[in-house]
Symmetry: C2
Subunit: 299 residues, 2 copies
């Protein structure tokens, strides 16, 4: 194999004939940025388990301010009509607003906030840009869960993200209980890439944001990882944040409780890991789902 | 009102025009049986919250023995063909076996076991008989939950159970995590009867065992109780048991984890609370769902 071969070879092949586990070749916490809000212990935990949480990242007053902003956005006719807004047909309620760091001033500030930006830089060891952002609102009683998946599998296959050098932050705007459809995550699963069976249909994103049909790991692979590593849940008060690696296997159950769930979700990608052509799809997904503006976020 | 009127009046009217909360008129823990395995504190908790749990009711060896029995039953062609066995069409797997205390010797022993029988007698303050029994098996990945309901509402409306003088025991044969579709219960909810809107269709039980369409409390009533009292989950190792009053508001989420769930479920009713004509249905449900053999269980 020549050097050129090695540099262009896809280390994370997926959407082929079979589901299989492949050892991850890349670090989770990257060297390069020495200071920031994350402690050594937090970074070590993140590298080891693939995630770590920060209690009280936002103060109660800040949580309330973001609630007001969410409320304002969902009532704004222009936002409701925007293709980046997901409105549930049956109830006419806004479920998600994508690209929200561009649509909303306060959310734009949040991705530049040192508590957020500087920790992303520490984990990824470089300047970072926003690959995707959104704010989600799930009502009580009828919250649908999301089946097990690795975000990176989709971002690699459908967006052309070369390596798992991306990190997500989910900030809870409501209290997360163990029983209202919160995130379940398999610690250590980020160290294995689950190559998923199946070819990517055209415009897959239109249905896959609701329910994935390709990019779904096999029962055997999920079982192996869950029995080996266990399952943890992200619980905590409103204002808590979960940082998790792009290749963590995660999912969520449904929510029949009266307690709604709302969160802010931002994906930071390293500027050294910018998108190329999709690895397993005919065309890349739209900009508001997978940005091609690689401008680093600065304060 | 004459004495005769008072004695025949239905204190728990349901399946009418509207959902509403009615104060319970009956005790939860009844006087009459002074000794047994339940401590004073356990009985007080049961009266106050509507449930209490017993860790390690069954030893690990006993759990294994009941697993073997479940396995044997699900492979027995006669049991599979029995109308009391619920077989999932798509997978051909057994999901539930009703009347299991009559079908299986070991399960018949279990309802007579002093750890079980004597506690039921203590709670209900009298001799007791088995209103319903079953063993459930829910596989991982695709376990469907069950929406919020009070068992007594159905037993009253469709089986003709006069008062909430019945208690259920659920014995876990698998570990119950907070995330694999275990029972959620609203503490204190047993003190209010939720009268549910809607008329009972004929042979309602054929679909209602999978998903209830009548006997469903309103969002408003569930919200009121959940915000006032909170929600608790029954978690614990295989062999643990939950005792809960017939009028507790409970439900369960779905289970997308690889961890299956299996449990033994027995309903004891007081011999002073035997079935009459259904309060809100044309005909009573079949014997294997609601027994009319009121013979007290004895050792």
């Amino acid at each position: 194999m020549t050097v050129a071969d090695a540099s262009t070879r896809d280390h994370y092949p997926t959407r082929g004939n079979a589901s299989e586990l492949i050892e991850r070749r890349d670090p989770t916490v990257w060297p390069g940025v020495d200071s920031g809000p994350a402690s050594r212990a937090e970074l070590a935990a993140h590298a080891d388990r693939g995630f770590h949480s920060v209690e009280g990242l936002l103060s109660p007053a800040e949580v309330q301010a973001y609630w007001h902003e969410l409320d304002r956005l969902t009532r704004d006719p222009e936002v409701r009509a925007d293709e980046r807004t997901v409105v549930e047909k049956s109830s006419d309620q806004v479920r998600s607003i994508f690209d929200v760091h561009k649509i909303s001033g306060p959310l734009g500030e949040l991705v530049r906030d040192p508590r957020v930006l500087d920790r992303a830089r520490q984990i990824l060891g470089s300047d970072v840009y926003v690959h995707q952002s959104r704010i989600n609102y799930m009502p009580g009683f009828e919250g649908n869960g999301f089946y097990w998946h690795s975000d990176f599998e989709t971002w690699h296959a459908e967006d052309g993200m070369p390596a798992p050098r991306a990190v997500s932050i989910s900030i809870a705007l409501t209290d997360n209980y163990p029983f209202n459809g919160g995130l379940m995550i398999i610690p250590g699963s980020h160290r294995r890439f689950i190559s998923c069976a199946g070819e990517t249909p055209q415009r897959n994103y239109r249905s896959s944001l609701k329910e994935q049909e390709v990019g779904v790991p096999s029962h055997d692979d999920i079982t192996k990882l869950a029995y080996e590593c266990g399952i943890e849940q992200f619980t905590g008060s409103a204002g808590s944040a979960l940082w998790f690696d792009s290749n963590c296997l995660h999912g969520s159950g449904n929510n029949i409780t009266p307690f709604p769930r709302s969160n802010i979700f931002v994906v930071f990608n390293s500027v050294h890991n910018t998108l190329v052509e999709p690895y397993a799809a005919v065309e890349p997904r739209p900009e508001f789902i997978a940005a091609h503006d690689f401008t680093p976020v600065t304060r």
